[in-house]
């Protein structure tokens, strides 16, 4: 199975989405030029982890084959408006803010929709130039909303340019050669359940394939069952040990659950380090590169 050109990284808040997106982009860049697109450029968390903070609209270089770009819905809408409305003579700024007020209020999904159109174009370019695109996308709830927006636009615009774009965005999202979702998850029941539900919702409602689930922060095995029994009386030490093995077990169960859902799972080790920096990202990238489904 080949990887899609564009990998859309999402997951429940707090599962390390930006960390995984940064590590995944770095892993892919070892093989081919890769672009990491940050959909929350205000924080540019993934860019920071790669030591290439974003400033303004300019792309930042994070490695020989790795570039980070910021994508904002607002910028896409501005570009779209510029394309359709020639307003040179009039005070552009005032006009812009107020007209945008109407357009975004009347069509709240429009900005998000144009962002998807941008991803479609990026994936097309990546295919021509044999590159990968990794997207540090919003957390699961908003991601589902974002990916569903094309359908809504088709509903309100039965004809015209938006309708045409909606069709091409929809066929982009269901094309496993161009688009795929990577789900980040941590070894906790709730995060696992949410990830499984999201994979199901993406498949059944939108026909979107999940390429892999990345189980982040999986503790390495340490205590056997006999160990845990022997230290049962040790209070806080025992509960630290139990928690570690509990997470370990949750990750193991999740592998079966994801397999049943047709989603391969990649495990990333919990890094017990006082800080997360470039070295840690490189380490996680190596683990991803070793486990990534065959390309």
């Amino acid at each position: 199975m080949a990887l899609p050109r564009l990998l859309f990284v999402t997951g429940k808040g707090g599962t390390g989405k930006s960390t995984v997106a940064a590590a995944l982009a770095h892993a892919l860049s070892l093989e081919r030029p890769t672009v990491l697109a940050d959909l929350d450029p205000r924080l540019s968390a993934a860019a920071m982890l790669l030591g290439a903070p974003l400033t303004g609209d300019a792309p930042a270089r994070a490695g020989a084959n790795l570039e980070v770009v910021a994508l904002t819905a607002r910028a896409e809408l501005e570009a779209f408006m510029r394309r359709i409305v020639p307003v040179a003579a009039i005070s552009r700024r005032m006009l812009r803010s107020r007209t945008f007020g109407y357009v975004t209020a009347a069509l709240p999904g429009l900005e998000a929709f144009l962002l998807l159109e941008r991803l479609r174009i990026m994936a097309g370019d990546a295919a021509l130039e044999n590159r990968y695109v990794v997207v540090d996308a919003p957390a699961s709830g908003s991601a589902l909303e974002l990916l569903a927006v094309a359908r809504g636009v088709k509903g309100i615009a039965p004809i015209g340019s938006l309708n045409r774009i909606a069709h091409s965005v929809e066929s982009f999202l269901v094309d496993s050669a161009r688009f795929g979702v990577i789900l980040t998850v941590t070894p906790e029941e709730l995060a696992i359940r949410e990830a499984l539900e999201l994979a199901g919702a993406l498949r059944t409602h939108l026909g979107i394939a999940t390429v892999a689930a990345i189980m982040n922060r999986t503790p390495a095995p340490m205590f056997t069952r006999a160990d845990l029994e022997a230290i049962a009386g040790l209070g806080a030490h025992a509960s630290l040990a139990r928690r570690r093995e509990h997470e370990r077990a949750a990750a193991r169960r999740a592998r079966t659950q994801f397999a049943r859902a047709g989603v391969p799972m990649i495990e990333l080790a919990m890094l017990y380090r006082p800080a997360m920096g470039r070295a840690e990202i490189d380490e996680l990238a190596a683990a991803i590169a070793a486990e990534m489904p065959a390309r």
């Binding site: 707090g14 205000r42 408006m81 015209g160 800080a275």
Partner: protein, 360 residues
């Protein structure tokens, strides 16, 4: 009673990045105040299913419901009511209340633009939270309100989104799209906006111009009432009896967001009472306990290694706290809410979180 004393407050509002447990903290603070004997209302936004169960809220609890406090240990006879914000239902109710006639209300509610705005425009949830706040405040029996806020990318969304919504509904728009009379006349901007919308319609295949026009015309006359209420809600948040609380977790990305929230609140002249770091790690046990334990040496080595691993994480967390401390506003307390080790499932879980909130 925890170390964050909100006894003198009539309102607490929890703001913060998504996914940090704002709803959990809101509910915990509400239970804490209720078990201290106060009459409390808590408005939640988008609670996790388990939290809904814990509060006894069904799917349609857009009106306050009494929470059974019997399972909360040591509860005095306070009162707790909880509700879940339903922006759409609240908006419909307001339109019905303020519209010139029932027919006008139904015309607004059935319109395409309204349906879009009411279900998806980000400002609506925030505006409706403020509306509910005023409704709850009007209740004389309530002496403390805890407000959870909709997920937002930026702190001021909650305060500014209502203004954006109001701007859209503003009477200026009537002159813009309707007949050219009134305060603002037909300025260049008005004419240009009309040109932009009609070009937009032509290219996109939508009929926005007509729809926006109808929407704005229907709202004519309701604007002042809306604006007045938003202003009153804003004043409540700025009052001395309101506690603005920023909720975050110790994760680096969340801390960066929380710092932006704090800075933005400062610019809006809102005084932050406390920053609560949710799911903070518990204190680690002593190494000495391992040496004294009666277990094989190999197992002691494992226990030491496990402790060292967690100590590294604890260091990472402490660095996060330092980053936060550097941006703490004057007079705000840095508080920690402990990690239970599992998702809060019951009222006692929430009460436990509340009693354990302590100064960092």
């Amino acid at each position: 009673m925890n170390q964050l004393d909100l006894g003198g407050c009539k309102l607490a509002i929890c703001l913060g990045p998504g996914g940090v447990g704002k709803t959990t903290i809101s509910a915990a603070l509400a239970i804490d105040a209720a078990s201290a004997g106060r009459a409390v209302d808590v408005m939640t936004v988008d609670p996790a299913p388990r939290l809904l169960d814990a509060l006894g809220l069904g799917s349609d609890a857009s009106e306050p419901r009494e929470v059974d406090l019997r399972e909360v240990p040591g509860a005095k006879r306070g009162r707790l009511r909880a509700l879940r914000l339903d922006p759409r239902a609240t908006f419909d109710a307001i339109v019905r209340r303020h519209a010139a006639s029932p027919a006008a209300a139904e015309a607004i509610i059935a319109g395409r633009i309204y349906r879009n705005i009411a279900s998806a425009f980000a400002g609506v949830a925030d505006y409706m939270a403020m509306e509910k706040l005023l409704e709850l405040d009007a209740e004389p029996a309530t002496d403390f309100i805890v407000l959870d806020t909709p997920p937002a990318a930026e702190a001021l969304d909650f305060l500014e989104a209502p203004r954006r919504l109001l701007e859209l509904l503003g009477s200026r728009a009537v002159t813009l799209l309707g007949p050219r009379t009134g305060r603002f006349g037909g300025s260049m901007v008005d004419i240009a906006a009309r040109a932009v919308l009609s070009a937009f319609d032509r290219v996109t295949g939508l009929k926005l111009l007509g729809d926006v026009q109808a929407f704005v015309r229907n709202f004519d006359g309701m604007y002042e009432g809306f604006a007045e209420r938003a202003k009153r809600a804003g004043a409540m948040l700025h009052a001395d009896t309101a506690a603005v609380i920023v909720v975050t977790t110790a994760e680096a990305g969340r801390i960066a967001q929380a710092r932006e929230f704090i800075a933005a609140l400062g610019r809006a002249e809102l005084r932050v009472r406390a920053v609560i770091v949710n799911r903070a790690m518990a204190n680690l046990p002593e190494t000495a306990e391992i040496s004294q334990a009666k277990v094989p040496a190999a197992l002691k080595r494992k226990l030491r290694r496990n402790l060292e691993d967690h100590a590294a994480l604890k260091t990472r967390e402490a660095l996060s706290f330092d980053t936060l401390r550097a941006t703490m506003p004057a007079g705000a307390a840095l508080m920690l809410a402990p990690d239970l080790g599992h998702e809060p499932r019951t009222l006692s879980d929430l009460a436990q979180i509340a009693t354990q909130i302590h100064r960092a």
